[in-house]
């Protein structure tokens, strides 16, 4: 047997109506819920064929790959994907591209320096963690002890978050001390609650602020600090109703928002454009979808900033990232 060169899957241009976009998160998580509506809105606005939202991947790369090929077999031909495993998601992208599909890496970029998707539209997690830690430093008045709660340590995004927090702490020149970084407590709420309770019991009196960069720890920290009645500032993540309620009630000092709506909406837009024959000016470009610090001061208005960012992202795609022969 000898090998025969396979021609690269040269994608043929489609009309908007032929484009069927699939938005695939890594699994069920509150963060992705806005994708559903944003995808729907994009479909109406940009008049493309169809959009679906499928969160059945269950945080398992093998299952996600399975879901993706199933969707492809169902006729979906453009994919916005949150890769379960950033370290191996490039292979998945490569597979899909080989079939001639367009792929956007949404809300998370592959690990390493290479991105084999057409583009990556994601929160710069290191930047977001940095902002969150900054907010924490501000909330505790520039000096004191900080604790960082986050998710799966065996995940490159977690490593970036840890780096972001460290950077903010380093910038205080020793005035703020990072007391502890607790990882692996995002898998379920109870573990997070237990970890927070134990933390507060052990060092509650020393801690001045807690910065969380994962969902369950954020919920647990807000609740735990409230129950323990300690003067600790909690910096949460995202805008799940429970957290926004916490901000309004003053239990949460600040939260750092990402831009899931923008990711899904603009991501879908770009995918449609690519399918219609546009190309990326820089294939694999990494685009920050923005992160926003919300405190009691702007809790009523933060969504406007975010909408503005989404608009600017879209026009950036038109002007900078895409080259369309028209």
């Amino acid at each position: 047997t000898k090998k025969e060169e396979t021609p690269d899957g040269g994608a043929t241009a489609l009309t908007a109506a032929q484009v069927k976009v699939a938005l695939v998160p890594g699994g069920a998580h509150p963060y992705f819920q806005p994708w559903k509506d944003a995808g729907g809105k994009a479909k109406t606005d940009f008049a493309f064929g169809d959009v679906t939202f499928n969160e059945t991947a269950g945080w398992d790369q093998t299952k996600q790959n399975d879901v993706l090929t199933s969707l492809a077999a169902q006729g979906y031909n453009a994919f916005g994907i949150f890769g379960v495993a950033p370290e191996s998601i490039n292979s998945t992208f490569e597979n899909l591209k080989k079939q001639g599909f367009h792929v956007g890496s949404l809300a998370s970029c592959p690990a390493g320096d290479k991105n084999l998707a057409d583009f990556c539209l994601s929160t710069d997690v290191q930047e977001a963690a940095y902002k969150a830690a900054r907010a924490a430093v501000d909330a505790m008045g520039g000096a004191g002890n900080l604790v960082h709660l986050t998710g799966n340590k065996v995940d490159s995004n977690t490593q970036r978050r840890i780096a972001g927090v460290q950077k903010a702490v380093d910038e205080t020149g020793g005035k703020v001390k990072l007391l502890d970084t607790i990882t692996d407590i995002d898998k379920d709420l109870q573990t997070a609650q237990k970890a927070v309770a134990d933390l507060l019991a052990a060092k509650g009196s020393q801690v001045n602020a807690i910065v969380t960069t994962a969902y369950n720890p954020a919920v647990a920290a807000a609740g735990g600090v409230k129950q323990a009645k300690l003067p600790i500032k909690v910096i949460a993540i995202d805008d799940d109703p429970t957290i926004i309620a916490g901000i309004k009630a003053g239990e949460v000092a600040a939260t750092v928002l990402q831009n899931p709506v923008g990711q899904a909406y603009v991501g879908s837009y770009a995918l449609v454009k690519l399918s219609e024959g546009c190309t990326m000016a820089t294939p694999g470009v990494i685009i920050d979808s923005g992160s926003f610090v919300v405190t009691t001061a702007n809790v009523a208005t933060y969504d406007n900033d975010r909408a503005a960012k989404t608009d600017s992202l879209k026009s950036d795609f038109d002007s900078k990232y895409l080259t369309c022969a028209k």
């Binding site: 090998k3 679906t52 199933s70 077999a73």
Partner: protein, 347 residues
Amino acid sequence: MKQEETTPEQRPPARLPLWANPRIGLVVLLIALIALFTTLRPAFLNTQLTLVPMQADISVYAVVGLSQLAVLSLGHMNMAVGRMAAMSAFASGLLHDRLDAPLLVALAGGLAVGALLGALAGLVISRTGVNSFVVTLALDFALIGLVSLLYATFTDGVAFNGLPAGMSALRTDTFADYCAGDVCGPEIPLLAPIALIAVLGVGLLFRWSRVGREVLMTGANAKAAELSGIPVRWRVVQAHALSGLLAGLAGFLLSANNGSFSAGVGDGFLLPSFLAPVLGGTLLVGGAVSVLGTVLGTAITQVIYKGLNLLQFQVDELKLYIGLVLLAALSLDRLRHVLAERRGVPA
């Protein structure tokens, strides 16, 4: 002392009716499921998007199932299959990353690590007589910690970047990509023959080889095995080592399939590892295994999974239906068994 008589009351066992053969039952179920899903979603027969990835998945999980089967033969369990796979994948990755080992060397190193871990578990079990469930569960706990500590120490993230040459071909290529003249191979991923070798090897082991049979006898009655001159402890170690080895192979195949040696390899191995052999008719009590059944069991679970995916169920419904279909399949098999028993044929 010539006594050739068999009493007339003892009827020779009736010939096995087709439906009473458990393997045939599984094949029928498999065909029925495929027919069902194809009717509902014709895309089920799409070569590139359904059949080829499904074959790759079946290859990986059949080996996972065999890994569990290796110790089920003893009536033991290996709760650490996933983590043994992860350790093995780490070893392969490290070999390639640090020593620039080629594909086969990396694979061999990984398999060796898997086999050693399995042997360790087997050694503890056979020396102390503690239940295998407990020992491997504890080992799993210990390895969860170890795997990520190792990745944290030896990589800057959670995976080795870079694969040995040829490994991505295992993921992307099928035999159809290789042609001799005008004749190209079938649309079968390159992973499949590796799994097939494992299947044949394990089948041969348990059916014809002395060691395999002695493992089975140990599973059937350890006391009697010892009193029949079988080196029981050594067989326990060997079976667990085989389990570790196959876990390592599964880890390698999954790494090839996913495209990296990472700490997450093997996370989802535990449940499928039990499902496939059990669906295939291997008992949890030891003494009997079905290798072919395990492959069929894997195929059935993957078909169910793929089919339900194509039907685009949401998370909750998907899980619900998988559970229900499994229960139904198991109950059907059970029903077949009962019917066979009633007719007086051993099944």
